[in-house]
Symmetry: C2
Subunit: 334 residues, 2 copies
Amino acid sequence: MTRATIKDVSRVAGVSIKTVSRVLNKERYVSDDMRQKVEEAVARLNYHPSQAARTLAGKRSFQIGLIHDNPSPYYIFNMQAGVGQRCREADFRMIVQPCDINSPGLVDDIGALIDQAQLDGIIMTPPVTDVGTALAELFRRKIPVVRVQPGTDLTATSAVYIDNVQAADDMTAYLISLGHRRIGFVTGHGNYFASGQRLTGYRQALQRAGIGFDAALVFPGQFDFQSGTAAAEALLALDQPPTAIFASSDDMAAGVLAAAHRLGVAVPDQLSVAGFDDTDLAQVVWPSLTTIHQPIRDLGYAAADLLLEFGETIERRQLPHKLVVRGSTAAPKS
Amino acid sequence: MTRATIKDVSRVAGVSIKTVSRVLNKERYVSDDMRQKVEEAVARLNYHPSQAARTLAGKRSFQIGLIHDNPSPYYIFNMQAGVGQRCREADFRMIVQPCDINSPGLVDDIGALIDQAQLDGIIMTPPVTDVGTALAELFRRKIPVVRVQPGTDLTATSAVYIDNVQAADDMTAYLISLGHRRIGFVTGHGNYFASGQRLTGYRQALQRAGIGFDAALVFPGQFDFQSGTAAAEALLALDQPPTAIFASSDDMAAGVLAAAHRLGVAVPDQLSVAGFDDTDLAQVVWPSLTTIHQPIRDLGYAAADLLLEFGETIERRQLPHKLVVRGSTAAPKS
DNA sequence: TTCGAATATGACAACGTTATCTCATCGAGC
DNA sequence: GCTCGATGAGATAACGTTGTCATATTCGAA
């Protein structure tokens, strides 16, 4: 017993091959009578169309690519979950392609992927979003692209994103509202545009509250645990150490926590710590992290949605973030 | 300018289409002369074969599926990285398919995936590995299968795994060697065969050391953070609380840590805590976790390797685990 | 020298769909 | 009653590869 083909279906249903194809592709001009006969035959034979044949014969492949160069399991997992969910709803398949933005073969690899799989569209996550040569290649091929949280050429492609400036502003304002005046800030990796945006939000909230910006309180991080540890060690060693540290990722916030524990600094009594992302990590460290919830899964879903609904038409969608207060922040003890 | 086809390549190289195909597929009986001409043409035209056409015309699709129902981002990320790596080396593509082992449509979904994509093979991770109906469907289709850490029908398919019994034994023996006599154990989720194996290893080490097994020290967990917290609360409330707790996942160990912090129990001075898996988490909590390193990425790589190298031939491969000592364990203070 | 096997290449059908074109039917408007 | 557009259905040609078979050449052994 070999796989059922469209021919088998047409024979069982007693209609032409093309009519079966019409039903499968939900085309117009099919009578209810025919549609029903075909659907019955499809169910009876447990028929599933060959993706390869569809791709070869048609103009679409029902496949989209997700291109990323992101070392965070949590980010990738949720992004895939969101994109995958939307793909399943549309009977599309998601092809995941990790890459290395520093590799000279990056552009060729992306081109090869598109050629081989005949992708109908591409979703990119930072920092791949901002690699000019890769973007140019995609434009050359005129393939629909949706970028997640792009930093450059904002209007060049469809995009989904959150308001990083506002989010960092929210968190900083929250810390200020608790009574903190000296708030340390750990920036993210320079490759990510969001890093700068979060710093901007931090400064914006300080300024609004009439608190002067102190460059000594800003530590350059890389989004990872080590950076957080290093930042905490540096910031807590200052003559006038901060009473709160806002790290622009949860990993870095965890690093701050670890350093504080090691130095015997009580959190949140002696030091408040805030993160950004609301990864699983935030609820698994102690004390659990006050952080900004970034709806990564929803971003993925929205990205796929834009791709499937609008194709080449450029569309933008901003998703809401949320301040999540947990155990790592409190009012400073005077 | 449209995509280059094999026809274009054959024209540029001045050979037949079939010869180009031979070179591309590394078939025998091609002269160096021909091979070189074809390779030059391929490079010049930046030609990439259409996967769809290859699948349709040939017997192989150059695609394998990775089927999982696992909520751990870390596990999935690394498994994908390993499988993906091996696929890239062989110019195969990996299709990732999350699923729900409790869904009645599970078998149909897997069947549909195989039909539509004409997969050349399937890799499954626990707990999907042990769903009898799904396995039966795969056998029916005679598709090569590799299972990661299967629990049932061990010899029915190729498999890669670690020795969970020995690993848990190692950890327990290590804790005993530190001087611990009352060692709590938190089991994993019942759906996973590894859960039982780890408990066996724990008991085995106790017995060898002449320490009686005390059922009160074993707490049933689910592999997640909450379980760990609940376990620690229950175990530490015993009349004779343990001096060490061995949780069979890092997430649960993190839960134990959090509960200990909350209860004011110092780790490792008053309580040693050990995990299992060595996920990123292990180095990000405080104190960092003593745990068993499970080479998830390597397991993925090996699984794909077995699939690509041996196909239907059943082959098994055991990978080494490793005890990693970090800050969460110490000798008990008498 | 001759023959068979191994090597090297090509012609052409086949894979399972969708696209395009053709044809038939049915109502509505003149 | 006739024409025209909308609707419904099918025949047939792609799509870009690989599989199969045919054919030519080369090499080694009898």
